[in-house]
């Protein structure tokens, strides 16, 4: 499971979902693996506004990964040499990912939790991650 996915996951229990403390889920006893993925710069730029930066920083800290920068990068930060202005109707120059983009890609799309648990900060329920897949099925009494 990619760390990006944690940006879109919370506790499956309905009463937790509306509580701020249920997001993000906290990784525990995690085994991480780097699974290489193609770099897609436009994609990375486009998902920036969707990232819950503070929460992703916290997850990285909990996983013992290097600190993310204190503030989220801008699209401009992701392009080597910055985004070049292009006149209307002209093809933009081929943009290359900056080191910031490469780092972000590595953290969000290549760093995967293969085994471990995800813990809800609201109810404490633990969801197992096995072979890279988190299981959110709830026991009957919690549905």
């Amino acid at each position: 499971m990619k760390l990006l996915t944690l940006n879109f996951l919370t506790c499956a229990i309905k009463t937790c979902k509306t509580q701020a403390s249920s997001f993000p889920l906290h990784p525990k006893d995690s085994e991480l693996e780097i699974i290489e993925a193609d770099m897609n710069l436009p994609f990375l730029k486009n998902i920036l506004p969707r990232l819950m930066w503070e929460e992703l920083r916290l997850i990285c800290k909990e996983l013992g990964l290097p600190d993310l920068p204190p503030t989220a990068p801008t699209p401009n930060d992701l392009v080597e040499g910055g985004i070049q202005e292009v006149a209307d109707g002209q093809q933009p120059a081929d943009e290359q990912p900056s080191q910031t983009a490469k780092d972000l890609h590595r953290v969000l799309l290549e760093t995967c939790i293969q085994e471990g648990k995800l813990v809800c900060g609201c109810c404490g329920h633990e969801y197992a991650v096995k072979e890279g897949v988190a299981n959110f099925l709830l026991p009957g009494h919690l549905v």
């Binding site: 499971m1 990619k2 990006l4 996915t5 879109f8 996951l9 919370t10 506790c11 499956a12 229990i13 309905k14 979902k17 509306t18 997001f23 993925a37 193609d38 897609n40 436009p42 994609f43 990375l44 730029k45 486009n46 998902i47 969707r50 799309l109 969801y127 072979e131 890279g132 897949v133 988190a134 299981n135 959110f136 099925l137 709830l138 009957g140 549905v143």
Partner: protein, 273 residues
């Protein structure tokens, strides 16, 4: 949990979830071609859009657009194992009535051939509501700017299909999935039509075994594959009649943007009201 709801859960566990776990591998091998309207919907999404595929099965719709990021979910651990190969997306095991997503965090959602597996009207409306609740609401003052969901369900009206269902018929049916025994040498004729083998052969009504006419049809279907070696699994379906999906969406607090019929299915694109 209400009593009828608990009954629904138990019923679906046996007649839907357990069946998919068992037929996962074979089911997955027959599911690879995306339906045109679903494909169009996915390709229309802008680069970097965030989506959910509720009941993603083997993940065949995760292969359509690599410029968006989709979190797929399915109740079947075995099917999710097939779905996890599709990059750059990700998948989790989850129940569609208890989805592990923060409300209103997705640009789009799809749920293809899933909601018809819920066994009571209330549970089907709830399933639709769970999908709609994933969607981003419209920005203030900009109507139609919110996230959109595409939902597909099997239709009761299937005049042209060999299943023989049509308007006025029984809507709650058990649909067999026939798995031919692996050791059997399939007749050549069968090999040329791989998609037919093991695909749906259909019976109306729950008491399939007691309906001689239907039984006769099944024997015709499976004769060549030596039925004694085959295994038949029955899955529960609620067949939607015309207008019913739209009504479920309204009841779930959504509004229908576009809807229609395609190849034995009703579909609708909806947003939050």
């Amino acid at each position: 949990m209400a009593e009828s709801d608990a009954a629904g859960t138990t019923y679906e566990a046996e007649h839907v979830h357990e069946v998919y776990e068992q037929i996962a591998s074979h089911f997955s091998s027959t599911r690879y071609k995306p339906w045109p309207i679903v494909e169009r919907f996915l390709k229309e999404q802008p680069n970097g859009a965030i989506g959910a595929d509720v009941g993603c099965g083997n993940g065949k719709y995760l292969a359509v657009n690599k410029e968006v990021f989709i979190v797929g979910s399915d109740r079947s651990t075995n099917l999710v194992t097939f779905a996890k190969q599709h990059k750059p997306h990700d998948v989790v095991v989850a129940d569609n009535l208890s989805l592990p997503h923060p409300p209103h965090s997705f640009d789009f959602a799809i749920s293809i051939a899933v909601v018809h597996h819920l066994s009571t009207p209330a549970r089907r409306v709830e399933a639709v509501k769970c999908i709609l609740d994933l969607l981003r609401p419209s920005q203030q003052g900009v109507s139609g700017s919110g996230g959109r969901a595409l939902i597909y369900v099997w239709a009761l009206e299937q005049k042209s299909s060999r299943r023989g269902w049509d308007e006025g018929g029984e809507q709650d049916v058990m649909v067999p999935w026939v798995m031919t025994a692996k050791k059997e040498k399939a007749p050549k004729k069968k090999k040329q039509q791989p998609r037919k083998k093991g695909d749906e052969t259909i019976h109306g009504g729950a008491n399939v075994e007691n309906e001689p006419e239907e039984k006769k049809e099944e024997q015709v279907e499976t004769q060549e594959a030596k039925p004694e070696g085959d295994k038949t699994f029955l899955r529960y379906y609620h067949l939607y009649r015309k207008g019913e999906l739209e009504s479920d969406i309204e009841q779930a607090g959504g509004s229908v943007i576009e809807s229609g019929y395609e190849k034995d299915n009703w579909w609708a694109i909806a947003s939050l009201k």
